[in-house]
Symmetry: C2
Subunit: 248 residues, 2 copies
């Protein structure tokens, strides 16, 4: 029996999940995918490994997972079978055979997250799960100044949930920019790795800067102080998307 490793790109609406990672008695993305794979493997468990967790309410446009399987079916058949069995809020967009050495988490070299907000004066019912409603004017020049302080390699302790167990909090933010289309803003983050809640805390801080509640000149000081309490509020999950995971 030949075991083959598969790499998949998965898209999900995080609204009705308690996050990606499997947990007992709660609906998770990993749990749903493992249940589908179990059905496809005569009730034998198949372990799914993701590039990383996403929290409850956080979406993925391009989460990457891997798993091993002895089933001899084509990539096209895999995609069809998986999509016919996954619930409607999860979709496989690609599947391919991977080397045995590939690992969805450890082989990742960069990740890209997007955070969407809209500044319309009234709530948009169609976006309530998919973007943060922030109905305040935003000063682009101030946001640009803050972004310039954040890009690069820093100890991001101040922008990381105090709950994090990781010791090394130095990360490199390669790209941080935004696109505006009418009243919709998309902040784009690319980095070699992200700490727990890092994107959401940076967005929360940028929004406070943009709406002139704090000065962008505080940023260098907030970074060196390595104190979560100094940065802005954690922006809510509904605006966040794990957009893409990069491999060699």
């Amino acid at each position: 029996m030949q075991i083959q490793k598969y790499k998949c790109i998965v898209s999900y609406d995080g609204s009705n999940f308690s996050g990606f990672q499997i947990q007992p008695q709660t609906r998770t993305v990993q749990g749903e995918i493992e249940a589908v794979l179990k059905k496809m493997h005569q009730n034998r468990s198949v372990k799914v490994v993701g590039s990383g967790r996403t929290d409850a309410g956080v979406h993925a446009y391009g989460q990457v997972i891997h798993f091993d399987s002895p089933l001899e079916i084509s990539d096209h058949q895999w995609l069809k079978a998986l999509n016919s069995m996954t619930p409607p809020d999860i979709s496989f967009t690609a599947i391919e055979k991977a080397d045995a050495s590939f690992h969805a988490r450890y082989s990742a070299i960069k990740k890209e997250y997007h955070y969407k907000i809209y500044t319309a004066p009234t709530r948009d019912p169609f976006r309530r799960h998919f973007a943060l409603h922030y109905p305040y004017p935003l000063n682009k020049a101030l946001i640009d100044t803050a972004i310039a302080h954040l890009i690069g390699t820093h100890d991001f302790t101040s922008f990381c949930s105090a709950k994090t167990a990781v010791d090394d909090k130095v990360r490199t933010l390669l790209t941080l920019d935004y696109e505006i289309a009418d009243d919709h803003w998309t902040f784009r983050f690319v980095g070699d790795g992200f700490l727990y809640n890092m994107v959401r805390i940076i967005v929360g801080t940028l929004l406070e800067v943009g709406s002139e509640k704090r000065s962008p000149d505080e940023l260098p000081w907030i970074i060196v102080q390595r104190d979560r309490k100094l940065a802005g509020k954690t922006a809510p999950p509904e605006g966040l998307y794990l957009w893409r995971v990069y491999y060699e």
Copy 2:
């Protein structure tokens, strides 16, 4: 006590409603709005009149309603109060004082509906409630021919749910066209009035024509036969939006 009539534009995500019209023991848009108005009027009932019903799962970008109220508050305060009390899947986008003679339903002269589909090979979890997934190639020339037969004044009995009680089924379809952006299609309908399920049955028929399951040359015959069974399947509700209601 001065009674003032108000005209409002309301946007709602129809996914979690049993339609617009109030019904006992079920969640409706009219029911939610009347509950909010009742709270604002010391527990006195305020009747809401909409431009028309929308079915379960059907959305509205620009539904129009009217109601009467003795409250003396500014339009801006009305908007703020209503949006702070309505559930997140309903939003008031505009409110203005209207003449006593205005009627959301009877004063309407035209209505515009949009129907959204996407033809991507795999399901998009973010669009599952907001567009029909139709992963088949569509032949534009065939659709254009079918559309040319439908535009104008016809007896639309063949494109109307057999359940309809209305006697006069002659309607004028002023505009029927579509816009394509990547794999997303938006069909736009403007007419002086629409019969029950008319947009969804026309869309279902156009998709059958576009995917070469039936010829566009059947259309004139289907129209004159006045038989619902001859037209295509009713397209599902999630792609449909009451986009705009026009008044004098």
